[in-house]
Each structure stands twice: as C-alpha cells, then as structure tokens.
Amino acid sequence: MLIPSLEELEKIYNNAKKDPSFKKEFNFLLKTFAGRPTPLTFAKNLSEKLGAARIYLKNEGLNHTGAHKITHCIGQAILAKRMGKKRLIAETGAGQHGLATATVAAKFGFSCTIFMGEIDIARQRPNVFLMEQLGATVIPVTFGNKTLKDAVNAAIKYWIENVKDTHYLLGSVVGPHPYPVMNCDFQSVVGKEIKLQLRKFEGKPPDYVIACVGGGSNAMGAFSAFLKDDVRLIGVEAGGKGNQVGENAIRFPFGSVGVVEGYKSYFLQNSDGNLQKTHSISAGLDYPGIGPQLSLLHDTKRVEFVNVKDKEVLSATRLLAQTEGIIPALESAHAVAFGIKLALKLPKEKIIVINLSGRGDKDIFILAKAFKDKKFMSFLKEYLKDV
C-alpha cells in the first residue's frame, strides 16, 4: 500500500543526490540553521581523571534542537518540498526527532503531526511542549507498548491514509527502503567531520568510535566514515534494568531476524514473531528493532555491540557533567558510560571518540527524579501551587 510513495521518495532522493543544488541547499542549512559543523572536544579532565586512553567527544548536542536528528530532518524536508507535500509527520521517542521535525516544518512552511507513545509523552514532556510551541500537533499513541515502536506504527497507518499530501519523515535508519540508506547518507556528515577534526588534533584516525544505538541513525552517521579504516566501531545498546525479557532493548544477542514495520533486520521478538516489550531509561533507545545496515555490520563483525545498564548511564551523565561541563542526553550517556569502561582498560596513547548524539536538557525531570533531588521536587510543588 505504501510502495508507490516509497518509490516516489526513492526517485526524488536519487535525483537529489545527483543534483548539486540539493547539496548546496542542504549544506547551507546545516551550516546556517543547524549549526554544523559541531565541535569535537578533547575531554581532557575526564581522560586525566581516568588516567587512561584519550577521550574525544563529538558534541552533536550543540546542533539546533539539541541532537543529531535535525540533520536528516533538513535533508528530508528539502525532498518533501520537492515532492510538493503539504504535511510532515513523524514518530518520536525521546521527542528529539519530533522536535527537529516540528522545527523544519515551521521553517519550511509544512503543517506537522507528531506521533508519540503515551509513556514517552509522560517522560519527555518538555519536548512535547516545545513541539507544540512550534505549531505541531502531538498525537498520543495509546496502543501496544505506548513507546517508540507503536509511534512508528501509528505514523505508518496515518501515512497509508494520507499519502497524497504527506511526507513521513522517519527519524532513524530503520523502516522500508529508501529510509535507512537516505538517513545514513544525511547523517554521514557526522563521521566526515570527526575524521577531519581529529586529524587536526591528533594527526591520525581514532582507535575507537563509540555511539549509542536506538534505531541507529547517530551510530551510522558516526561510523560510516570509518567502515574501511582500521578503527574499532562500537554500538552501545540499552541494557535497561536487567537481562529479562522486557527489561532492556538489547537486540544483540537477544534479538532474531524478522520483518516488521517494513524492514528486515534483528528484532526483539518471541518465537511466534510478536515483538516484545522493551525498557530503557532513555526513550530514544527503547525500541525492539535496529537498522538493517547495523544488523549487517553486526553479522559481518564490523561493528561490535555492547550494552550498559540504566544505573551506569546515570553515573556517566553525572561524571561527564562534572568533569567536562557537558550534560549528555540519556541516550548519548550510554556511549559515555561504555567509553569510560573501555578507556580504563586501554593504554594512554589510544584514542576514543564518543559520539554525543544529544544534550541532556530534555532529561532534567528524569534526572532530578533519579538523583532524588529534593530541591527540584519542592520547586515543582511550589510551582504548581502558583499555577
């Protein structure tokens, strides 16, 4: 039912790839609107404190709207304009992709509808508020797990019913062709920037690149420039609360191959092929599927997968904040948590690049609760009295 729209999108994207004016517009907006290139920062204090490998942070959190998501949103918005679409729709977990979509919708003059699981709305309310301020309508998804995968389902259903005037701005390297390839292309700017920037610092490529993996867009972006190089690439999944079904989003090794939401890849599913519940402290990693390119890179052993628990993520968030002055998004803090563990095992001359996919502003409520910050809670109470 969606094949005609997917074929239309593929065609317009293939044309755009060959079209210098597309590249020009894309790069211009990345520079003057999104704020690219984002800095690569040497984490001097953290590296010294650990007394181990040299850690660099690719600070994608300094993108407009606070995460890497704006990059593929700009790319797709230009394509949607070329296709003559009137409306953008998107799924969102953490709200970062929804926020970036709402932002480009406002900038390009599209109307915008965002699908978001009820549970994610409850835990990422600041982003819901911001999306609405940008003129988007946020529709709560009340079925299934009420998280990211259900938001994808809801967006696809809406798209099936409104294909004519609507572009589905999918927010990761998942879903049917051409989304994984296209979003990976758009995000590949991240890896290219890392390569150039690190050359200036170190005069050589990194030994490791680490990224968190929900669907995989920030990871593919960071990894793509290094696939052919002698660089170890590590994807960090959500270890959640434990290893039982429903306590995490560890696709490797708990997932198996399936065909769901229009793509073939690894999914957390039961023996009947029904998707399983997932959990992560970060809404953006709380997803049972993973991009098909990353699945292939897993099978060919080019990318290694590890996971860290919610608790380690919280400690890493605090450590990074206090040593480097950067509060990472909870998703990105997964990469930080593993980066710290890895650094401790490595000699001093090794170089690790951690892709910090987003900043942590959206997570203040979760962090305040997790850190049992009494002052924040009494602030909330007082504030409520006032309104």
């Binding site: 039912m1 005609p4 079925f143 696809i156 259903k157 099936i160 939401e261 229009g262 092929g273």
Partner: protein, 262 residues
C-alpha cells in the same frame, strides 16, 4: 484442493459472495470456533482467519485491539493451525489465513505453507509482503508448491505497473482495498470506487474481492455489479464488542443474515 474450492465458490454466481473475518482467539478460541461455524451456516462463502500479531500495520483500531486482546489471552500461532484444522474438517466453505509476514517468516515460510495446507487452509493473505520481495522470501512459490492461493492485496494508489505485477502472480482472487487506508468499518464507500474496480477488472483475470470499510447491506448492493466478493472485517468485531458474552452468537448471526442480498 484450495484452488478448486475457491473457484467453485465463485462459479455459478448468482449473488456477490461474502467473506467474513475473525481474529483467531478473539474474544476467545472457543468463540472463534463457534462464530466460524455459525458464519458458514448462515451464508458466509469464505472466512478469513487472522492470526493475531503484535504490530498489525494494515489494521485500524478495531482489529488492532482484537489482536492485542487475543495475544493477551495467550493465543499462539500453533493455536491458529489447530483451529484451522478443526474448522476445515467441520465446515465446507474455503478458509483462508490472514497473517502478517513476520508471523509466516518466523515460523518458516515453507513450513507455514505446508502446515497451512495440511490443516486445510485454502489460501493466504499476507498484506505486508510486496511481490518485489519474492526472490528473497519465496512466499508465492511456496504457496504454489503447496497449492494454496496467494491472495494479492492492492489499493487505489497501486500504479498500473504494480497492478500488472500483482496480476501476474495472482491466484484465487485479488483483494482490492476499498479505499487507500487501513481496516475499519465506514459508513460510506468512496465515490471513486467504481472507476477503480473497473480498472482492476482490466488487469486481473481472477475474481475481485473488496474489503476495508465494508459494513452495510447497501455497500454490498453497490459492490455486487462491480466485484465478486465482499469482505466484512471490522464490522463483525464491532458487533462482538457491542454484545454481551451471552448474545454474541445471536448478534453475529443476525448481522450476517441482515447483510445478505440476493
């Protein structure tokens, strides 16, 4: 036998044929059996038995909730085969499985087709498997091998090119969705339906089934000159949802009897 049974059911056509639909295990496995028998007895010409799936992309809220409830009840794929086996030995009309591809894939495409046939299914409807993937997934060839109809699903936005591709591999009948969208009972049929179905007729030599949104006798009357089979899905589930447990059978029976046209 699958192919023949479906052909026979369409031949000697005096009225538009009726395909009803049930989500296996909703509201319970017992009810699925009772309701299927009752449908067969009261004039259904085909029954589409949907295997519940966690992420039914082509379904609207009614069938989605029925799937969710069935899975919560603990319905397994092996129950679907058991039910198919039991029903096919007790009713004489063709029964088809409707399943999302991951259900088939996870079970094993070949084994799924083989077991479906062994259990007496006449065909498979897998709405999320485009013909383009046949070289990878071999669903159509396995259906052929085990003499199951592989029902192609098309929609009003299917391009001519795509209709041609589907027509090439179609068997049994083609399932044309009445509108571009997801399942769910509607009050009105789209005005463009006639032109669309005429176009479909040009491309397909197999009979045409029309589903998605069909819920009333008037719809069947409108469809009768344009197609061969009308599919009633969500509308039956709505009836079940509105019934007391004790009245479900009676209410479904009345609903189906009221639909029939001569």
């Amino acid at each position: 036998m699958g192919l023949n049974l479906i052909d026979q059911q369409i031949k000697n056509k005096k009225r538009i044929r009726l395909m009803t639909h049930l989500v296996i295990g909703f509201p319970s496995l017992d009810f699925t059996i009772k309701l299927a028998k009752l449908m067969a007895k009261n004039g259904a010409d085909f029954i589409e038995l949907q295997i519940p799936f966690s992420d039914p992309l082509a379904d609207g809220p009614t069938i989605m909730k029925a799937c969710e409830e069935s899975l919560l009840n603990g319905t397994k794929v092996k129950d679907a085969f058991k039910i198919m086996k039991l029903l096919s030995s007790q009713v004489s009309i063709p029964l088809l499985f409707m399943a999302y591809y991951n259900t088939v894939f996870k079970y094993g495409v070949k084994k799924f087709c083989q077991d479906a046939k062994l259990c007496g299914a006449s065909g498979l409807i897998v709405p999320d498997m485009p013909v383009d993937e046949e070289n990878e997934e071999h669903l159509i060839s396995n259906c052929r091998k085990f003499r199951l109809c592989n029902i192609q699903v098309i929609s009003p936005v299917s391009t001519n090119d795509r209709l041609q591709k589907n027509a090439k591999v179609a068997s049994g009948f083609v399932y044309a969705t009445a509108h571009q969208g997801i399942t769910g009972a509607k009050n009105q049929l789209e005005s463009s339906l006639e032109a669309y179905l005429k176009k479909v007729k040009k491309y397909f030599s197999v009979p045409i089934a029309v589903g998605f949104g069909i819920s009333q006798k008037e719809h069947l009357e409108k469809l009768a000159p344009l197609s061969d089979i009308a599919v009633i899905g969500s509308a039956v589930i709505n009836v079940i949802n509105l019934s007391n447990k004790d009245n479900i059978e009676e209410d479904v029976k009345n609903f189906i009897n009221n639909l029939k046209i001569c």
